[in-house]
């Protein structure tokens, strides 16, 4: 197994070179610095080079400098700041928190966005799933505290460093039907729990989602059509929620809190031998003020929350909230006009997020630290196979008979305000 490599742009920003991740020959192998020719010589992955700039934004060439090399030797996009520090131009999107501050970064390195999607192509499962660029969102926190829910939680705690990356696009029709999303999950705790996992997590059932305000909405076929179902739910607002909570008569205030997505994931790493669960984890990924909600009357079902600020029903119900103030621009004569949904000044840009850390279980006592699974985290074996993804798990069993719940991370870190706009 070779190591993943950091991109040139990352080196340029930090003045230091690094490398790493899910792919070193030893679980904690030291980073290896790549050089420019190495990146240029690497074959591009499907995910590389797919982003296109809007007017006035950084060029694709600048964007593509933020790349890394995956365990398969291909070149992948990776995290970059929303504004390029070398040129000052904006990318118009963000990928969450700068991973270089994570205590896990030296081991994990830059995350190759789309690596697991790429492995699905090679896995021979008859499935193909690639995701857009802007949906990759990183969140991490050092030294979080996990506790049991009972009184013993006053006395015992487990401290962890955690880093996650989920592809969580909240601007397009994709997640209305598609339940497979790339997830990287890295965790190291004081009780020796450790996992470095990358997989396509199946969030709920394909072809449908859960309405934020209750109920299931069936939309249509997923991509791929034979996507497996998984645990968890994708909670997404739709017109029903908007009609009941946002569009209100005079004298009432709109509840824009319903414009909130919660992707409640449950992921597992399983062995091929007996389909045994080697590890599981349940982080919940929440996005406040996404740039979409589902409206079956719209093309592709995509409607824009920003448009609600000027929308009025026949009976006079409309959005009544200060949330719309940034969206409405005053023009002469006291009339208002609305900002386009993708204007950087709109708060509906999906840049406010948080992650709940829950139920990190490892049942790998006596097992190897390194497993190779298919892109869904299944069929875990000791040796790599076509389309396999390397997973690292500590050789312990951390089931204590009680669940350990963690904190919410990232809720106090809005990532907007730097030219970031929908689609983000």
């Amino acid at each position: 197994m070779r190591c993943i490599v950091f991109g040139r742009a990352a080196r340029a920003m930090s003045g230091a070179a690094g490398v790493v991740l899910l792919a070193c020959s030893e679980p904690s192998a030291a980073p290896v610095a790549p050089d420019g020719p190495t990146l240029d010589a690497a074959p591009p992955s499907v995910a590389f080079g797919i982003w296109r700039p809007g007017p006035g934004e950084c060029s694709s060439a600048i964007h593509d400098r933020y790349s890394t090399i995956g365990p398969d030797g291909k070149r992948y996009p990776t995290w970059h700041p929303p504004v390029d520090p070398l040129t000052g131009c904006s990318f118009g999107h963000e990928h969450g928190r700068d991973p270089r501050g994570s205590a896990l970064y030296r081991e994990v390195g830059d995350l190759p966005f789309g690596y697991v999607n790429e492995q699905l192509d090679a896995a021979g499962l008859g499935l193909r799933r690639h995701e857009d660029h802007v949906g990759h969102k990183i969140e991490w926190e050092n030294d979080i505290v996990l506790r049991s829910g009972g009184g013993a939680g006053q006395l015992l705690e487990v401290r962890c460093d955690v880093m996650t990356k989920l592809h969580q696009g909240t601007h397009s029709k994709d997640a209305f039907t598609n339940n497979l999303h790339e997830l990287n999950y890295h965790l190291r705790c004081s009780d020796r729990t450790e996992m470095h996992v990358a997989l396509l997590t199946a969030i709920g059932r394909p072809g449908e989602f859960e309405r934020t305000c209750g109920g299931t909405v069936t939309v249509g076929p997923a991509t791929p059509v034979n996507s497996p179902a998984g645990g968890g739910k994708r909670r997404i607002p739709d017109w029903t929620c908007v009609e009941s909570k946002v569009l209100v008569p005079e004298g009432r205030g709109s509840d824009f809190g319903v414009l909130h997505e919660s992707w409640e994931t449950h992921s597992e790493v399983r062995s091929a031998d007996g389909n045994r669960v080697l590890a599981s984890f349940d982080p919940y990924f929440q996005v406040f003020r996404p740039s979409r909600y589902f409206d079956p009357r719209q093309p592709d079902g995509v409607a824009r929350p920003a448009a609600l600020c000027t929308h009025a029903e026949h009976d006079g119900r409309r959005a009544r909230t200060k949330e719309c103030d940034p969206v409405l621009q005053a023009v002469s004569g006291g009339a208002f006009t609305m900002l386009p949904f993708d204007d950087p000044r709109s708060p509906f840009n999906g840049a406010r997020r948080q992650v709940d850390i829950n139920n990190n279980k490892v049942r790998n006592a006596g097992g190897p630290r390194v497993w190779y699974t298919d892109p869904f985290g299944r069929q875990g074996r000791r040796d790599p196979f076509p389309g396999s993804v390397r997973q690292v798990l500590s050789a312990i069993d951390n089931d204590y008979g009680v669940g350990l719940g963690g904190p919410v991370i990232g809720g106090d870190r809005p990532y907007g305000g730097t030219g970031t706009r929908a689609p983000n």
Binding site: E26, P27, S28, A29, A30, A103, R106, E107, S148, G149, G150, G151, A152, G153, Q154, L155, L156, E157, V158, R159, D161, R188, C189, S190, D191, R192, E194, A365, I396, D397, N398, D399, Y400, G401, V402
Partner: protein, 239 residues
């Protein structure tokens, strides 16, 4: 390979909150007060069990009382003791919170004198703390003990024990325990009284590191949990 011990050094020493410290101080004061009262009553008690003294017409004198104490110490044979008191205990480990609470402690021991100034025996001690929210913390230990009097007439003694300890946390749902070898050291004072001896004692106990395991699954949430315990006990010993 990169070191993977990011939490090294996070073990927490016991540190009681101001309220807890106040309660602990009250415990010590209470024990000292009891000791003082018993000390004051001791001559009366000694009088109630007449001590022959030709120089004082049959009344107990301090010299006579000291002779009685000496007589106790010179006795040879088995003894048994039981005591109650207050103590504070906690675990130090990467998973352990800073919680040290004064709570009830008890000790039972049996043994014998092997020499005039040297006793040996076996002691069973326990400590129970009801934290609240349905959480109990318990500590108990079984030790081989030795007691040494610095001089033939000394009422002060040093004591030590070596054995096993077990610390448990139980909230009805989560149950964890740590068991490990433990060492106790203590200091006490004998007050002979009506055929028994009252002994106020202060002891500290520390265990070697051991895993803190879930009772339900046997899995360790921490590998190096160390018990720390101090206790004040007022014991009655029968010879």
């Amino acid at each position: 390979m990169r070191p993977t011990t990011p939490h090294a050094g996070r073990s927490r020493a016991f540190r009681a909150s101001p309220e807890r410290r106040g309660a602990a101080g009250a415990t010590v004061l209470l024990t000292l007060l009891l000791t003082a009262i018993l000390t004051a009553l001791w001559p009366l008690a000694a009088t109630a069990q007449p001590t022959r003294d030709s120089t004082s017409g049959g009344l107990a004198t301090p010299a006579a009382i000291r002779r009685d104490a000496s007589a106790f110490a010179r006795r040879v044979g088995l003894w048994a003791s039981a005591g109650l008191g207050r103590g504070s205990a906690g675990l130090t480990c990467p998973a352990c919170q800073e919680t040290q609470t004064p709570a009830l402690t008890a000790q039972f021991a049996v043994g014998g004198r092997v020499r005039e100034r040297f006793h040996v025996g076996v002691a069973l001690w326990s400590w129970l703390d009801v934290v609240g929210d349905g959480v109990d913390r318990t500590a108990r230990g079984l030790e081989v003990i030795a007691r040494h009097y610095p001089s033939r007439d000394s009422r002060w003694f040093l004591t030590g024990g070596l054995g096993t300890s077990r610390f448990a946390i139980d909230d009805g749902d989560a149950r964890f325990h740590a068991a490990a070898p433990a060492l106790s050291l203590g200091l006490g004072w004998d007050l002979p009284m009506r055929g028994v001896v009252l002994s106020p004692m202060l002891a500290i106990t520390s265990s070697t590191g051991g895993p803190l395991r879930s009772d339900r699954t046997g899995n360790a949430i921490a590998e190096d949990a160390r018990l720390g315990l101090w206790r004040t006990t007022l014991s009655i010993t029968w010879f």
